[in-house]
């Protein structure tokens, strides 16, 4: 019926369709859902609870000034690491759920067939929904990014941490968006769409870690080859490598593919991994667009 190519996806972005009617509708509906506010409140509450749990025991320690300072530095490092991880995991989870459900909700509510009788193309619909979710998750990403930038500016992080954070967010976001749309366009029920998406991401990243480790042992390679792959490919490994190589006054390196890599070295691996994620994401997105109209009923 409609030949949708990868080129259409790019044209869609180029034609200033990002703030179309569907985008407005998505934001308007989201702003009226009480559960959205409850989730945001819960999110902030959890973050505060985490900081309190780490910080309160530190300040309650009755030790000397030097010891106290050392404890506080350690606590600050834990909090920094925790915030980066917490934000990163939270955002990916929210994005994965939102992107999986945004299409299946339309299918389940029988609104998609009506939407598809408008002149909006399948690609328009998917891109608008993607941008809508991006806009809704945007503040959390910006918060995470601003946090990293602020610490880099204060020379607590290596400036390369900004690149690391950007690469991690974009890689995981692209991958989860594409797989979310893929499953969302195939499943009528929202839970049916979310479960395989989370299972795929979690499974892939766990399996990737195990395979990397097993391959290292099996091939007799240095054990750190497996860890290196995890650092380069798995988002949570990337987050660990980011914190390890950009904190501690920039002196720390991680062993990656036989060499001690610093922040810049890890950024190269992360960028290569991002290119891989981008390719896989394009395949999933293309499959999602192809399946979109076929699965409307």
């Amino acid at each position: 019926m409609q030949t949708t190519s990868i080129l259409d996806l790019f044209q869609c972005f180029c034609r200033r369709r990002l703030s179309g009617p569907l985008f407005d509708k998505e934001l308007r509906i989201a702003s009226r859902r009480r559960r959205g506010y409850a989730l945001r409140f819960a999110y902030v509450l959890l973050l505060m609870a985490f900081i309190a749990l780490v910080w309160i025991p530190t300040v309650q320690l009755r030790t000397g000034a030097a010891m106290s300072r050392a404890h506080m530095e350690a606590a600050a490092k834990t909090i920094t690491l925790g915030i980066v991880w917490f934000q990163f995991v939270g955002v990916q989870l929210v994005a994965a759920i939102m992107l999986s459900t945004t299409v299946s909700e339309e299918m389940y509510g029988r609104t998609l067939c009506v939407l598809m009788t408008t002149p909006l193309t399948d690609t328009d619909i998917l891109v608008s929904k993607f941008v809508g979710v991006l806009r809704r998750c945007g503040p959390i990403w910006l918060l995470l990014f601003a946090y990293v930038v602020a610490f880099a500016w204060a020379k607590c992080f290596h400036p390369m941490a900004v690149v690391h954070a950007g690469v991690m967010i974009v890689s995981a976001l692209l991958f989860l968006s594409a797989t979310g749309f893929y499953f969302g366009s195939r499943c009528r029920r929202t839970t049916d769409a979310v479960t395989p998406n989370l299972a795929l991401a979690g499974g892939l990243w766990c399996v990737l870690s195990i395979v990397a480790e097993a391959a290292s042992f099996g091939m007799g390679a240095h054990r750190e080859t497996g860890v290196s792959l995890i650092f380069a490919l798995v988002p949570f490994g990337q987050a660990f490598a980011m914190v390890a190589t950009t904190l501690d006054s920039y002196v720390t390196t991680v062993q990656c593919f036989g060499d001690a890599r610093d922040a810049a070295g890890m950024a190269t691996f992360m960028l290569l991994a991002m290119a891989g994620y981008l390719l896989v994401s394009i395949v999933f997105a293309w499959r999602a667009v192809r399946a979109f109209r076929r699965r409307v009923f």
């Binding site: 029988r110 609104t111 009506v114 009788t117 909006l120």
Partner: protein, 308 residues
């Protein structure tokens, strides 16, 4: 305005629509009738670009549906048999969203939304949440949505399903108004008697193929059904039976309850002959009414109720 040529749609081994040839002229109301699973909804979905035909062609306003999907969608308003609505939107927001989706300029949107709300009698519900509307109102909102881009063609899949009698009458009036506006309407329904009153032509489909397509007048000879009238006279009905039975145009006269049912011979001119004969014979005629072939009867006779 709407045309299909050898339209076929298969779902695996299941043939939903088979070599369907259909033509609906501009400004016509076409009633699409058939048992469940006959292929009505599939045909409509192909026409509105939601499904791709397995073979054959479909055209809307001269545009090939499978090639010019976007242009076709601009010309067609489609109302599905079960339509979901966005619960978190208000009525005017819902319509404005679709107006924007059809590319209507921002400045013109409000006037157009107000216009369709007035046409569908939903002005009082303008700011009401969509999910607070009754079923009948939601159907009217669906019709308002369909009209928002002023399409030439309306394809309505059972628009009166689930409505109470009052809402059905209102829907029928609305469809008549749309016909007056010059819209070409293709409508399917199980409430066959309603289609009989508003449709110019009907198509009865079974197992993906038309078993009849034409006007109500054309369906009568197809079924071999002769014209009948109901007559009631003052005085002796036996005399009326005697007088009418003597007419060469009349095949038989039989008393049914308190009136007489007069069946004419096939192809005979029957206008006025019964009344003339009875009055000239000195009988007072109090009731004379042609027995209409009901669409439900035609539907039952034409379809065997076989659903694949």
């Amino acid at each position: 305005m709407i045309e299909t040529k050898k339209l076929t749609k298969n779902f695996g081994n299941l043939v939903a629509v088979s070599n369907l040839d259909l033509y609906i002229g501009a400004g016509d109301i076409f009633g699409f009738i058939g048992p469940n699973g006959a292929g009505k909804t599939t045909t409509m979905r192909i026409l509105v670009t939601l499904l791709e035909p397995t073979s054959g062609e479909a055209f809307i306003d001269g545009l090939k549906v499978s090639k010019k999907g976007k242009e076709v969608r601009r010309r067609v308003g489609y109302m599905p048999d079960f339509m979901g609505v966005y619960d978190d939107l208000k009525v005017f927001e819902y319509l404005e969203f679709f107006a924007a989706a059809f590319g209507i300029e921002y400045k013109k949107r409000q006037a157009i939304v107000d216009g369709v709300l007035e046409l569908t009698d939903l002005v009082s519900k303008r700011s009401a949440p969509v999910d607070s509307l009754s079923r009948g109102m939601q159907q009217r909102l669906g019709l308002a949505r369909v009209l928002i881009h002023d399409p030439k063609v309306l394809i309505l899949d059972e628009p009166a399903s689930g409505l109470d009698p009052r809402a059905r009458i209102e829907m029928r009036e609305l469809l008549r108004e749309l016909k007056r506006m010059g819209k070409t309407i293709m409508i399917s329904s199980h409430i066959l008697s309603e289609l009989e009153e508003i449709c110019d032509r009907i198509g009865i489909i079974e197992r993906g193929q038309f078993v009849f397509s034409g006007t109500m007048e054309e369906i009568r000879p197809r079924l071999g059904i002769q014209s009948k009238v109901r007559v009631k006279v003052l005085g002796d009905p036996a005399r009326a039976v005697e007088m009418l039975s003597a007419l060469p145009q009349v095949q038989k006269v039989e008393p049914v309850d308190d009136y007489l049912s007069v069946t004419f011979c096939e192809g005979q001119e029957t206008d006025g002959i019964v009344a003339r004969t009875l009055v000239n014979g000195g009988l007072d005629l109090v009731y004379l009414h042609p027995e209409q072939l009901k669409l439900d009867d035609a539907f039952l006779q034409l379809t065997k109720g076989i659903v694949h």
